[in-house]
Every structure is written in C-alpha cells, then in structure tokens.
C-alpha cells in the first residue's frame, strides 16, 4: 500500500472545482493571445476584449481528451518517467540564476561550466529520474538562453528533461533539437518530430501569470506544444496573500482556475495532447515579502492542488524539495527533506526543486547530492511496507533459540537491500570515533567530497556523431546570430 497524504475531503474538492468554474465565468480569465481567444470563443466561450468567460462545459470537454498517463523516455528509448497515477519522481529545480560556490559560499551568477557541473552530478544520481535545465547561463546571449541550456543538457545527459522555452521561435528550435534524439517507434522513424511525439524526451513548463492571466507567450506556448504533441507542464504560481488569496484553499481555487483554463486552450488546439497539472505556488512571507518554497504551507498548497488534479485523472507536478536557506545548512536540510517527503506522500508524479536555495534563485550541486538522500528516503517511504515472506516472522524464528542470530539468516542478506534504503556516505551513520577518524566532517563537507567523487566518475553518455553534428549545426547559426561566436563543445 502506497502511503498517502490527503488534505481535502471529496466535498471540499467539489467546492474548489465549483468555485474555480465560477471564477472562469466571473471575473473570467484574461487571455492576451488572440489565437487562444479564438479557440475558446469557437468552443462557446464569450470574449470581451481580453477577458474570456469560459463555461464549465468547455473545460469538461477538454478534460475528457487529456491523457491520464504518459511517459518520458531517455535517449536510448527507455521509459524512465511515468506521468500519471501515484508514480513519484524527482528532478533538480530549474532556471536558477546563481550557483553556490562550494569553496567561497558566494552566490555567483551561473554560467555554462556551472550548468555542466550540475548536469553531470544529476546524471550520476539515481534519485533524479529526469534532468532539468537547472540554471540560466549568464554569459550566453539572452535571445538563445533557453535553447542554449537545452543544448548543454543534451550534450551531457541521456535522461529525460524538464525544460521550458522563453519565446515561441526558440520553442520551435528546442522541439527540433529534441527530435534529433527521438528513437524509432512502430509508426515513426527515429530523429523525427513524429517519433518525439510518440516517445517524448522532455516536458516543457508553461506558466500562467497570477492572478487568472494567460499572457500572449504563455497561451501561445500551450498551443504550439499541443500542436507538436510535446508534453506541456502547467506551472501555476499563486502566491497566497499577495498574487492570490491569503487562504490556502483560496490559492488552490485560483490554481485550479488558471490550470483548467490552460487545459481548455491546450486541448482545443490539439485534443489528446499530453499536459500536466503542475505548479510552483508559495505562501507570501509577511515579514520579508518573500516567497518561501520551504514553508510547510507551500507544501500544503501543493498537496491540495495535486489532490484536485488527481480527482480529475490528470498527471501531476509540483515544486518541492527546495529551501530558502542561503547555504547548505540545517535549514536547507530540514526544509528540503520535509517538503520532499510531503510531495512524495501526496503522490506527485514529478517533484522539481532539488538543489535549490534562496527562493529558487540559487542552484547547488552539493545540495543536489544531499537532497538525493532525502529523495531516497522519500521514495522508500512511498514504496511502503511490503509483505516479503510467507509468514511475517514466525518462520524466521526457526533455529533462533533466543539468540540475536538473524544476521546469519540467508533471508536477511536477501531482503535487507529491499527493506532498507542504503544511504551514501553523505548520511553519517558511523560511530563517533569512526566519524572523527574520517575528519569530523559535517554534511556539507561530506557532500563536497561526494560531489568531487561523482564528477570524477562521470562519463558522458554516448551520442552518435551525426546526431551531435546535427545538434551543433542547429544551435550554431542561431548562436552566431545572437552574437555568440563560438559554441562550446562537449569536453
């Protein structure tokens, strides 16, 4: 039995959806993209300037065509991520603008070398089922910032990718870049957009603007992704008390209205295209005016909206496992660990946020290494308690004769790796003297050592030379146009 955290009664879920449908009629949704407005109008919504009043039946029809489950694949064509049901996966938080320097503890503007380092570490850690375009590369031209990040991740990783586009023209290129690596299916030859649609390698985050707004870019993004049949991930971000009602439930209603209107636009553009009920909400800190990702109430909003999404049979995503601390300290550990566990218990399919400090602004490879342990524990927890032996205990007592000799049983050796999550050396379970002999290292120091080891052991996944040439050629000309003379190559 997978243990579950449910914060809402069925009655409350109905009320949330009912009020979300009311909001979509009054005040309606501000849709700043003409094509999206046309789609909604043609389906029976009323349009007044940018304001669209979307009737419940339009949304209900859209919900009927949304796939309840889809998968992400790695570059070898293996299924690696299940979006649907109560499957739980984790990926590093994305789009950080700083990295934590492990030596000086400065928050430095992130550059290509930092992204490469993060991707390598995440590639080595089985806790991460997918990569993310974890930081922006500040030295790369803004015009190609999004596709440049994807280029770097593709060079160094074979895992599925959680990414996002910054403009519609770059979105086109990013889909083409991914299509190079799509593997053949029974219907389509590899290397094509059709094959990518059948076996997607990435999911694209798409954000509404709180409250209740779909920007021209956001809505356009949804339409493009739907038509390319590339998975979209809704990232609604109500800020409880600032850009959303102060109550957790009020924010969950707003999340539902923004997400449901997004699904309507998306499914009207292409019924049956995959889309995820995701988000990155937060409460609003009333002392500092900040958006704490490590607050328990932030996790409660996530768990609640995930429950709403599940009631509609949708794949889910949230932003947890991050911390607002500025270094990898006790606060970072507790906020990331607690929220990762809550997200896992809520059965969220993709939990983004690991590695992140400072309100999702700063990524840290060392924190990714620490968070991987919290994720290992969270995954163990949701794997639940399993009956592994014919009798639970009585047969295991045969021959024991009041002695603590269970270590001698074959079954102990067979089952302990299933029963116990085996942490890496980042988690200290040594005796006090063993710990002292190893240098009396704290968590961060142990994480630095493990990061060094992982980087040393990292090997770049194989990439066919013709695919690499095609990828470089695709990015090269755009980079040049944007003012970047030389595109970095894989080391």
């Amino acid at each position: 039995m997978q243990p579950k955290l449910e914060l809402l009664t069925p009655g409350l879920i109905s009320r949330i959806l009912d009020e979300a449908f009311q909001l979509m009629m009054k005040p309606g949704i501000k849709v700043q993209d003409a094509a999206a407005r046309d789609l909604l109008a043609a389906a029976g919504s009323s349009v007044d300037g940018e304001i669209v009043r979307i009737p419940e039946k339009v949304v209900r029809k859209a919900l009927e065509s949304v796939p309840s489950t889809f998968f992400l694949y790695d570059r070898l064509g293996n299924r690696r991520v299940t979006y649907g049901g109560d499957a739980v996966h984790f990926d590093p938080g994305s789009s950080g603008v700083h990295v934590l320097d492990p030596e000086t503890l400065e928050h430095k503007p992130s550059e290509t070398a930092d992204l490469v380092r993060l991707v390598k570490v995440a590639e080595m850690l089985s806790a991460y089922d997918a990569q993310s375009t974890a930081v922006v590369c500040n030295e790369a031209p803004k015009a190609i910032g999004d596709l440049y990040r994807l280029y770097i991740v593709l060079l160094y990783s074979a895992k599925p990718i959680v990414t996002g586009a910054f403009s519609l023209s770059t979105l086109h290129t990013m889909i083409d870049m991914l299509a190079i690596f799509s593997t053949s299916t029974s219907l389509s030859a590899g290397g094509s957009r059709a094959a990518l649609a059948e076996k997607p390698l990435a999911v694209f985050d798409v954000c509404p603007s709180p409250p209740l707004i779909w920007s021209e870019f956001g809505a356009g993004n949804l339409i493009e992704l739907a038509r390319a049949n590339v998975p979209a991930e809704l990232i609604s971000m109500p800020l409880a008390g600032a850009a959303a009602p102060v109550t957790l439930l009020g924010s969950v209603v707003q999340h539902a209205a923004e997400s449901l209107s997004g699904i309507a636009i998306h499914q009207l553009a292409s019924p049956g295209a995959p889309i995820v009920w995701g988000g990155a909400p937060a409460i609003f800190d009333m002392r500092r005016g900040t958006t704490p990702m490590g607050a328990v109430e932030t996790a409660m909003i996530d768990a609640a909206y995930a429950q709403v999404g599940k009631s509609l049979g949708l794949p889910t995503h949230c932003y947890l496992g991050a911390s607002d601390a500025k270094i990898v300290d006790a606060q970072a550990g507790l906020e990331s660990g607690v929220s990762a566990i809550l997200g896992a218990l809520a059965g969220v399919n993709m939990i983004s946020g690991a590695g992140m400090l400072d309100f999702l602004a700063c990524q840290s490879a060392e924190k990714l290494v620490v968070d991987a342990e919290a994720i290992g524990m969270a995954k163990r927890l949701v794997a639940g308690i399993t009956v592994r032996t014919e009798t639970l205990a009585t047969a295991l007592f045969e021959g024991i004769n009041f002695k603590g000799d269970f270590l001698k049983q074959k079954v102990t050796r067979e089952l302990f790796p299933l029963e116990q999550y085996l942490p890496s050396a980042v988690i200290d379970r040594d005796s006090i003297r063993g710990w002292q002999q190893a240098g009396s290292l704290d968590t961060f120091a142990r994480a630095r050592a493990r990061t060094r080891d992982l980087l040393a052991a990292y090997q770049r996944p194989a990439m066919a030379p013709e695919q690499e040439r095609e990828l470089r050629a695709m990015v090269q000309s755009l980079a040049k146009d944007a003012g970047m003379e030389k595109l970095p190559e894989a080391e």
């Binding site: 270590l407 049983q409 074959k410 050796r413 050396a425 005796s431 063993g434």
Partner: protein
Amino acid sequence: MSTELFPKMSQSIIDGDSDAAAALAQQAVESGLDPLEAISKGFVIGVNTVGEAFAKGDAFLPELVMAGEAMKAAIAVLEPEMQKRGTARQILGKVVLATVEGDIHEIGKTLVGTMLSASGFQVYDLGVDVPSAKILAKVKEVDADLVGLSALLTTTMVKQKEVIDVLDKEGLRKKVKVMVGGAPVTRDWVQKIEADGYSEDAIGAVAVAKQLVGAA
C-alpha cells in the same frame, strides 16, 4: 589435481553458501586434496575477499556473517580429515570471547567471533552475562592466548577491568592478551584498564588480534 575446486570454494564463501562450502569440502576430501590447501588456496581467499569488500563499504554485515558461517561449515568437514592425516590447520591463536557480567548485548561480540574464526583463530564464545571467574576458568582450560571482552553499557564496562585484574592475580596477564570492545570503549579507557587492544568493528578486531599474537 582438483585445483579447479579452489575458485569454487572461494566463491561459496563469497556467496555465503554453507551447503555449497560443505559439499566442496567433502569433494576435496574424497579427491584426496590436502585440507590445509583447500583452506589456504580456496576458502580463505573468499573470506578475505568479503572482508576487504566490507571494509570498503561494498559488502554488508549479512554477507560478512554468512561468509563466516560458510567457512565454519567447510572447516567442520575438513577437520576430521586433518586429524586423520595428523595435520592441523594452523591456528593463529586461541581466543576466549565473552560479553561481561551484567551485560546481555552480543551482536558485536558474535560478529568478532565469526570473523576471528573465519580468519584462523580458534574461538571459544562463552556468550553473554559471563562472570569473570568463568572467563578465567575457560582461559585456563583451553590455554588461551587471547581474551575478548565486550560491554555495551558504561555500567558494565568496569567488568572488563575486573577480568584483567583476575588474570593478573592468577599470574596470567603476561601470557594472555586482552582485547576489549563495545560502544562505550574509548582509547582512554583501554589505557586506563591496561588492556592490550581494542577495535571499532569486527574487521578491525581481526587485525588487532593478529597483531597481538604476532601473526600480522
């Protein structure tokens, strides 16, 4: 002759498969292989492999213990043959092991016993809550080279000192080395009670024991 058995013997220990180890030992006896060679070129290689893997964190306690058990099973089959041949396995030393009086914690001590016996020591494990007098009696009976004393509680570790005092009183202290172990045992404590050695874990205990009997 039968040298192809050696890797299988070693593997049976690595697999912690007592049945296979005993069967291979039986095969060795039947084919006339020298039991000593079966041990030194076959089974012990497996014990060392598992021990090294454990020290590196690549193997775990169940593997270690089962390797020790498989070793025991092999030796039990080979022992009568050695007696018949008038040879004996070279014993590194005789060890009397006990958890001291008032203390019933034995997992660590049992592990040490398993590893010591797998490594070539003759181990007499007296169990838990063993009075000092009983330990002394066993030491005399078997003419022990080493005594290993375990205590998990700060309240019972004083008994480790009591055993040392008793051995001293009997004039055995020069001849019999004393190893102590258990969670509360520190280097300071070892010096204070004038024990000869201590270790953090079962693998370390084997190294200390070998050193104390001059077999390192």
